[in-house]
Every structure is written in C-alpha cells, then in structure tokens.
C-alpha cells in the first residue's frame, strides 16, 4: 500500500489515568492515511481506553503526551469537534437512547456533520437513499431503523448499526473497538465487507480485536500489540498469526 506524506494520527508519549490509576503509559502510535492498523492485546491492557481518549471521552486524565490528527492538536478539541474533523469510534458497547428513532438520530448526526463543513442539510429523499444503500450493504432491515436507537437490538445488530453509521458519516479515521465480538460468522463477513468497501487512500482504520478471524477478512497493513498500557510490538499481518499460536505471555512480560 502506498503511504501518504505525513501521518494522519500521531500519538506521542501518551500517559492517561483514571481516578488516579495509570492506564496508558508512554504510549506511542502512528497511523498513516490509507492504512489499516490492528491493535491486539490482553483484556484490560487499555485498548478501549486508547480508543476513548482518541475520541475525547471525558473522565480520563491526560497526564502527559500528545495526540496529533491531520496536524491538529486533538487534545484541544471537544469530542463533537473531533467527530466533525473525521474521527469516528465504533463503540465496543453501543449506547441505547430510548424514544429517539434510529433514523432520526442518524439524520441529525449527518446534518450536524454537513453543517460543520458549511454544507446544507440533506433532503429527506437523499438521506433515505443513502440509508437504503448502506443498510442493504450491511443486510440490516430498514424497518429496524424506525425503532429507538439500539433499544432492544441484539448484540450483532448494534455492531452492524455502528458500521452503518460509519458508512453514512464517511469519517477520516475509523476506530473499531471489538466490532467483531458478538457477531456470528455470516455477520462477521458482512461487517468486514462493509469496512473493506470504505477502504480508501484518504481514510485510515484502527481495528481493535482479539481474533485473527476478523483480520482474515479485513487484512491489516500493520499489527500492534498492546500490553499494560503501551504498544509493545508492531509488525505485519504475520504478527497476528503468531499471537494466535502463542498468546500474549511473552509480550506481557516484556511490558512489565
């Protein structure tokens, strides 16, 4: 894969704690435009924390370090400003919002995004057409989109809906936090196809996963191993295979 000039995302010596407990320590990570980077690592190693900190979730204390996105200091921006600049997080646990139709929610977010770029609101037929296309690709029943956001959706439906939103918003940086967990084999294929369809030299993916199986569908350019709040190893797709065989033990020790 061709690599663009500067990195899209650059994290330097990032240390983060929550309620005084350190979770990320001196973490360095670079993601280039066009790149698909996988992050693997044991439970509790700080993968979701990293994803949240990139997206700007409050409650985390940034002890030190920097995050640069397209040359901008991401830590200075509010979460919605980051989203408007093109940061998207597919949540490990998508949130329910009772009474708000999924369709209504998606239209509001899409228009907020458009307005932040000086574009006008989408007309309803235009919006419906995009939703129809995206939901066909992800094999989501459009009737479901009339129901309140994520309320009563199955685990797999919630995950597919995250990717549906990603397809509609067309972000620059897509952070996928365990999007594969809870998906059956067919859904895994569908979701992966959805992600692959969005691969683009101008877009990057940070794919957090525990399973080599996802990486068979979404072939990563780089694999990073995370342990105890840092990136402890980086390599090509073969690294994921090695982890599948040997587990994290060596890396956990390296981080200690």
């Amino acid at each position: 894969m061709m690599q663009a000039a500067g990195p899209m995302l650059e994290i330097k010596k990032l240390s983060v704690s929550i309620h005084g407990a350190p979770i990320l320590e001196d973490l360095n990570l670079t993601v280039r435009a066009g790149e698909v980077a996988a992050i693997m690592g044991p439970n509790g190693s700080g993968k979701s924390t990293l994803a949240y900190v990139i997206a700007g979730k409050p409650d985390y204390e940034i002890v030190s370090g920097e995050i640069w996105f397209d040359g901008e200091d991401l830590l200075e921006l509010e979460p919605n400003e980051r989203a408007q600049k093109g940061v998207f997080l597919a949540f490990q646990y998508p949130v329910e919002i009772p009474g708000v139709a999924t369709m209504t929610f998606m239209k509001a977010t899409l228009n907020a995004r458009r307005r932040s770029r000086g574009q006008g609101d989408l007309t309803t037929p235009d919006f419906m057409r995009r939703v129809r296309e995206a939901s066909q690709m992800l094999k989501l029943d459009q009737e479901m989109l009339r129901r309140p956001l994520n309320v009563g959706f199955s685990g797999g439906e919630k995950k597919r809906l995250e990717i549906l939103q990603m397809a509609l918003l067309r972000p620059r940086l897509c952070v996928l936090d365990e999007t594969d967990s809870g998906l059956d084999i067919d859904a895994l294929k569908v979701v992966s196809d959805g992600v692959n369809a969005l691969r683009d030299p101008e877009r990057a993916f940070l794919v957090i996963t525990h399973y080599q199986r996802l990486l068979e569908h979404i072939r990563p350019d780089v694999v990073h191993v995370m342990a105890k709040g840092r990136i402890v190893a980086s390599g090509g797709p073969e690294l994921a295979l090695e982890l599948e065989r040997n587990g994290y033990r060596d890396y956990a020790e390296a981080a200690a």
């Binding site: 997206a55 700007g56 979730k57 409050p58 409650d59 509010e78 979460p79 919605n80 989203a83 408007q84 998207f88 997080l89 949540f91 998508p94 949130v95 329910e96 919002i97 009772p98 009474g99 708000v100 139709a101 369709m103 209504t104 929610f105 239209k107 509001a108 977010t109 228009n111 907020a112 995004r113 932040s116 609101d121 309803t124 309140p148 939103q165 918003l169």
Partner: protein, 489 residues
C-alpha cells in the same frame, strides 16, 4: 424528523436571552388601584357590566376566601404573597371590550404577531392555507379579540370571551359556572371566583364536531398585575372540541401571580381535548422574578361515555402548582392526563392530576414526564381514587422523571385509594438521568452537547408530544429545547 431538526436549529439560534417573549408592549392601560376589598370586586363587576347574581357570587367567594389560608402541602417555597400589593384589573385603554378585529389597537396586533399568534382569519402563505385555529386573545384582564366567531356560529359553536358570554349567553354561564370547581374549592380558586377577569367560553351544541381548533392566548403585560382568568368549556351530548391554551409574560424582576380556573363539562358521548403550552416567564437563573402559576383545572365527565383529555407542556413559571383533573361521573367515561413538565434554573414545579372514579367502568390514563435541570425541583403529585360504586374502574399511571445535572431534584408523590374491590389501578414510575454515556455517544457522532440533550429529552417525552395537535407539537418541541438552554456544558 423535521421537528427534531427544528429543535436543533432553534437551539443553534439561541442567544444569551433564552426567554424571547420577555418584551413589554407600550400599551396604555386602565388599571384598578392596588389592593383587594369588596369595592374592587364591585369595580371589576361594574366594568364588565355584570348581572347582579354574578356580583353576589363573587362577593360570596370573597367572604369565604377571607377565612381561608394558602395551601401548604405542595413541595414549593415562596415568601407570603401580599394580596394588597396586586392590581386586580388592567385593561388596554383603547379596547374597552371585544369588538371586531378591525377595531383592535394595532399595537396589540403587533404584540400578538411578535408572539407568533396571528389575530387574522386568513393565513395564506405562498398559496398554502395553514390549518385554521380560532384564537381568543386575552391581554392582562380582558379579551381583546376572538377570531372565526362568525364561522363557528354557523354550526352553533359559541366561542367568545367570558365577559361576552356573561352578556350574551347568561343562562348557559349561570347553569355551568362553578359546577366543576365550586367557588369554595381551594384558596386560589376561591380568590379567582372573587376577582376573575376574563377568559374564554366555549359551548359546542349536541352532535357537533367543532370544525377547527380553538385556542386562547394569555398575555400578562402590566406590572404588578395578577391574572385571574376563568375558562368554561361545555361540550353538549355527542360533541367534540379540541382546545389549546398558550401563555407568556414579559420579564420582570417582581413575581407575578396567575391564578386561573378552568372548568370543563362533557355531557353524554362528548369529548373535550384540552392542551396547554405554558410558557410564562420563569424568572432568571438566580430565581429572581417569574410567574407564580397557581391554577385549578378540572373536568367533569358528566355524561355516560364522555371523555376528557388533558395534555400539558409546562416549561415556564417560577412556581407551578397545577393539577388538571377529571371527575369520572358518567358510566364508562374516560379521563386522560398527558404531561411534560420541564424545570430549569430555580424553577419549582409541583404538578400532576387527580382521577376521581365515581361511575362504573370508568377508565383513566396518566402519562407524566418530568424533566429537571439546573437547580430546579420537579414533583409529580397524583391522586387516583375509585369510589364505592366505581365497579370495574381502571387506571394506568406511568410517571417518568429525567434528571439533567446533579443539583436538581425529581419527586413522585402518588396517592391511590380504592373503595371498590373490582378496581384495577396500576402505577409505574422511573427516574433516570441523561447519562454521560448517552451524551458522549451523541457527541462522538458530531452533535453538540445542547443538540444531544434536546434529542435525548425529545425521545424521553415522545409519547406525550404525540398527544398534542400536530402544529403545536412542533412548537412544544422547540420550547423544550429553549427551556433546557444552559442546562448542559
């Protein structure tokens, strides 16, 4: 969907001054001297050219009121009101009484236009006629205009100011006045009975479905003036009427008293749908100024199979004390109460309903959504009782509270009483918060904190908004966004 977009747009356009109806109109008024005594009551009655029986009724109420004390059981706090410091009558000088639209002071028409209430009968925008709504506009103590009267009269519907009804339909008024909320009912209702100024009167004859929405728009303009309106709606056998009440007041540093009485009477097979969008000035963020809204609203399902439905969106007032209720007297009659009560800043809301099941097979339904933000206190107080003869009575109550922030409070106080063993009363209640998780999720998708809150709140109140007439649901949704201004971030 468009409505949510409207909400979002409105939030966007909000400036520091969230209460946009806070202006004062430069209209000269005839104001009665401050204070309350029998002479003032005689003055009001004389100004309105009332018959002797009505003056006597007022004076009886006044004498009774002198023996009563203000109710203390509500969860609201305010300094004692000095009833001698209030003006009990104020009328725009140029408009001695309701007359034709052409005679209305243009300044008044401008005031209502500014409030978004068109006092014209034809609203043709780009060739499209909007749904027609007949409006009775009450400015301080008098009704200044009522639209579509002639057209309504064609089907026999009477829609006019209360004063005019007393003059032109005295028998109807005398037959029904005080039969739902007696003059002795409670401190504020009794005060109202003594000094009531103006309000609306509606009579729908048997078998008639009122051909348009009726609406009254209340505006308090004059300083230190109480507003004591009185509304009486009678739906005769087999008729139907939908009625909407709206209200605003200028921003003033002093508190102003609003003590209204609304009486609804539904005869056999009749239906009344009464909606309120209450947006009195709530006071500033520190709790200075604002309206004291102490209102008695009650409907009597007098005939078999009659139905009364209250829908309220309460966003204004410094203090709200209000329990629109239904007396389910007729066999198989039905009562409904749908409420959204939003409090922000230092507002205090104590509101709810009473469903009094007297007849057999009567049914009632209560859906209440309380939203508290800022440092406000929001109480739902509801009573459901099934009397001895109310065989087969059924009630369903669902009462949800939503908290925004950490300094507000939500409270639910249900009173349930069943004297008939066959009555079935169900009560559900929940309290939730706009969670950090929900907010962050919305922000992550690019919505601002304010857009996100408006969206979440609109979701929370959805089942009640659906009860409002379409045109007003959109308005109410915008109002919700405005009243939550400053509650996040």
């Amino acid at each position: 969907m468009a409505a949510v977009q409207g909400t979002v747009d409105r939030v966007r356009s909000i400036d520091v001054e969230a209460y946009k109806y806070g202006f004062v109109s430069p209209i000269e008024s005839d104001v009665a001297p401050k204070g309350l005594n029998e002479d003032i009551i005689r003055f009001i009655s004389a100004r309105k050219e009332e018959p002797e029986w009505l003056l006597a009724w007022r004076l009886d109420a006044f004498r009774r009121w002198l023996t009563m004390g203000a109710p203390k059981w509500a969860r609201v706090e305010y300094p004692p009101i000095d009833f001698q410091e209030i003006h009990y009558f104020s009328a725009p000088k140029t408009t001695p009484g309701p007359k034709s639209l052409d005679d209305v002071d243009p300044e008044l028409l401008r005031t209502y236009a500014k409030l978004g209430i068109p006092l014209v009968e034809q609203e043709i925008l780009a060739g499209v006629e909007r749904p027609r709504v007949a409006v009775d506009a009450v400015f301080d103590s008098v009704s200044v205009a009522t639209t579509f009267k002639a057209e309504l009269a064609k089907v026999g519907v009477i829609f006019c100011s209360f004063s005019e009804a007393v003059r032109n339909h005295p028998d109807l008024v005398r037959r029904y006045l005080g039969t739902v909320v007696p003059a002795t009912d409670n401190f504020y209702a009794t005060l109202n009975s003594a000094v009531f100024s103006d309000g609306s009167f509606v009579y729908v004859p048997p078998g008639i479905r009122c051909p348009m929405e009726l609406s009254t728009y209340f505006r308090i303009n004059e300083k230190n003036t109480g507003q004591f309106e009185r509304t009486l709606i009678v739906a005769d056998k087999g008729s139907y009427v939908s009625y909407l009440e709206g209200c605003t007041a200028p921003k003033r540093d002093e508190n102003q008293l609003h003590a209204a009485v609304v009486e609804l009477i539904a005869l056999e097979d009749a239906e009344i749908k009464y909606s309120t969008v209450q947006n009195w000035y709530p006071g500033d963020a520190e709790g200075k100024g604002g309206i004291y809204n102490f209102v008695t609203k009650r409907g009597d399902c007098r005939g078999a199979r009659s139905k009364i439905s209250w829908t309220q969106v309460e966003t204004g007032s410094a203090i709200t004390w209000k329990y629109p209720s239904c007396i389910l007297r007729g066999e198989a009659s039905r009562g409904e109460f749908y409420s959204i009560a939003i409090s922000n800043g230092r507002q205090q809301v104590d509101s709810g309903t009473k469903m009094i099941h007297l007849g057999c097979n009567t049914r009632s339904r209560i859906i209440s959504k309380g939203i508290a933000a800022g440092k406000s206190q929001n109480t739902y107080r509801g009573q459901v009782s099934a009397h001895r003869l109310a065989t087969g009575a059924r009630n369903f109550t669902n009462c949800d509270s939503l908290l925004i922030g950490h300094q507000c409070g939500a409270h639910t106080v249900p009173y349930i009483e069943a004297k008939n063993a066959s009555a079935i009363i169900e009560h559900e209640a929940t309290t939730s918060k706009v969670s950090e998780e929900q907010l962050f999720y919305c922000l992550q998708r690019g919505l601002s904190a304010e857009e996100a809150t408006a969206l979440i709140v609109n979701g929370f109140v959805r089942d009640v908004l659906q009860q409002l007439p379409m045109e007003f649901a959109v308005e109410a949704q915008k109002l919700i966004a405005i009243s939550l201004e400053g509650s996040v971030g």
